[in-house]
Amino acid sequence: MASDEEKEPASEEFVRELTSHQTSMLAYIRSLAPGNSSARDVLQEVNITLWQKRDSFELGTNFKAWAFQTIRYHILNHRRKMISKGWLVFDDDLVERMSPGSEMAPDGLEERHLALRKCLGKLRPKDRDLLHHRYATDSSLNVYAIATRRSSGTLKAILFNLRAALRQCIEKEVGGQKGIF
């Protein structure tokens, strides 16, 4: 049995691993259950599971693989409940198919975030405002359409174009990395 002195650094290291992988984990959950505003809750539940099972994780091994596997099991086990709440959840075979192959490290996600910020800087202010409205407020696109005297259909089309442009820009910035997670 480990002494307290031995256990303490292990817990510290585990928490460090857990926190540093939160971005990747949340992104993965969002990809398996798209548009789910409760993705944070799922993440929290997975965090608890990981914490409860921390003794079975060997420090120094691949934390991300272990965490992602736990997420997959969580989604598989809770699929029915999630769907009953109206959430979109990919079928089991697609969940397995979307399992990260070439896994991206947290630093990689960080790099994409920095790239996004750079790409956003290249947009027109009114396009940034539109993205800000879409992602920073709970207000509907219709409300913004009225405020900006444009149709919501036009705004939706602009958003599609903006995302497509941002995706390309980010890929260019990060050097065309293929791996997603």
């Binding site: 798209p34 993705a39 975030h113 910020r117 497509a164």
Partner: protein
């Protein structure tokens, strides 16, 4: 893949499709592997956009002003925190922005911290893993925040802050020392007036209700942005700047030290069983029996050299527990209690002050009137005085730690030192001190 496929992949990533459309999309994904890749790319973009935009800063008016009356609530949460797991604590008014990103940061609090966190939190080995987007209201004490990206912040109360994302802290009010703990980490600290983008360094940010927000660069380089502009000025070690609500920037030399970098543990400089030999009796004949010092019309002094040169961020706690005295009365027209002296001059007293009010009270001398509580607090009890050396704030709290709402408060000059304390009671008054303890946090 054509444009329509890209649009469809975006709509799925947003969750903006019907169940029927989603099922049809899944069928196509099984047959068209390329569609899986496009979907994953847009899903990741959706996630990154959420991270970037959600949890935008609150305005100054959205911050929550600490009030004495909210201490009791905060204190009860601090106590409940010891046993709560995954408790959603809602005590402040609703947040105007509901951030989505749920990447926990870790928070550790000093022993004297009084705080409340609005949002989800888990206790992990004495630390709290808190959900980003939650709001921390730190009434007093210190908190160490460890962000997932490898940056840390040491924030002093009173402060109000929110960790918006793994790399972003919004400091609505208060002062924090921030540092990158590893190479490649990233940190942005925002206040209502400025945005500090860490470029590999250590720096201090303060957000102030009644004066301009400030940035002090201690090491390395920081980019200062104001007015929401992405471009900014790079400040290097030794540079400081303030930004007022009108976005006016004033440069000055940074304060290089005086900022706490650790939570700080309290060290007991006076405590344990009361013994007669530890005290110099200057007046009267107090009795020390079974660890209780009691008597009437006496003054007993004890040197405490550790109190003479207190650090600029030090906090002093003095706890006195009194019993009902066999001789005289704790409450009288005269005084009985504990005093702090400097160079032979009494600087601070708490206990029963001069006057007819039968209550614990605070006397900060300086020819100022005694501070009485709104609701009288009489009799035998344990009371803790807390003095914040940096701000000069002195508060009295019931109990052995200053976690309950203060029942008295006032201001001593900042940086005040002491060299001696006194236990005693004046003529006609009596006191029985069961325990006296003085602790210092550097």
């Amino acid at each position: 893949m054509n444009r329509q496929d890209h649009i469809l992949a975006q709509r799925v990533a947003e969750g903006d499709v019907s169940r029927k459309e989603f099922d049809a999309f899944q069928e196509r994904m099984r047959k068209e592997p390329e569609l899986v890749g496009i979907y994953q790319a847009y899903s990741l973009l959706e996630h990154t956009l959420c991270e970037e935009f959600e949890g935008m800063p609150l305005s100054r008016t959205d911050s929550i002003a600490p009030t004495w009356s909210s201490w009791a609530v905060a204190g009860s949460f601090a106590a409940a925190a010891a046993v709560a797991l995954l408790a959603a604590v809602l005590w402040m008014r609703p947040e105007p922005v509901a951030p989505v990103v749920s990447i926990p940061s870790r928070m550790e609090f000093s022993e004297d911290a009084v705080w409340a966190f609005k949002g989800r939190k888990n206790q992990v080995d004495g630390m709290w893993a808190v959900q980003n987007g939650g709001t921390l209201e730190l009434k007093q004490g210190r908190v160490k925040i460890s962000l997932a990206t490898g940056a840390t912040g040491l924030v002093e109360g009173p402060a109000s802050l929110r960790v918006d994302a793994p790399r972003k802290v919004f400091l609505a009010e208060g002062r924090g020392f921030f540092r990158l703990e590893r190479k490649g980490a990233e940190l942005v600290v925002e206040t209502p007036s400025l945005r500090a983008v860490d470029l590999g360094t250590a720096f201090v940010v303060s957000a102030n209700r009644d004066k301009p927000d400030e940035l002090h660069v201690i090491e390395g380089k920081v980019r200062l942005e104001v007015g929401g502009r992405a471009s900014g000025k790079d400040l290097v070690a030794g540079d400081g700047a303030s930004v007022d609500s009108g976005m006016r920037v004033e440069r000055f030399a940074a304060l290089e030290n005086g900022f706490p970098e650790t939570l700080g543990d309290f060290t007991t400089v006076l405590g344990g069983e009361l013994k007669a030999e530890d005290w110099r009796v200057a007046k009267g004949s107090p009795e020390v029996k079974y660890g209780v010092m009691s008597g009437t019309d006496f003054e007993a002094f004890r040197k405490v050299p550790e109190l003479a040169n207190l650090g600029s961020n030090a906090v002093v706690l003095a706890t006195v527990e009194v019993m009902v005295p066999e001789e005289g009365s704790f409450h009288s027209a005269n005084w009985s209690g504990m005093s702090f002296f400097k160079d032979g001059e009494e600087v601070l007293f708490f206990g029963d002050s001069y006057g007819d009010e039968e209550t614990w009270s605070l006397d900060l001398k300086q020819d100022e009137p005694v501070v009485f509580p709104e609701t009288l607090l009489p009799g035998a009890r344990k009371v803790t005085m807390r003095y914040n050396v940096r701000t000069g704030l002195v508060t009295l709290h019931e109990g052995g730690l200053p976690l309950a709402a203060p029942f008295c408060g006032g201001w001593l000059k900042a940086g005040q030192g002491f060299d001696e304390i006194r236990l005693g009671a004046a003529y006609g008054a009596g006191i029985a001190v069961k325990a006296a303890e003085v602790r210092i946090k550097p």
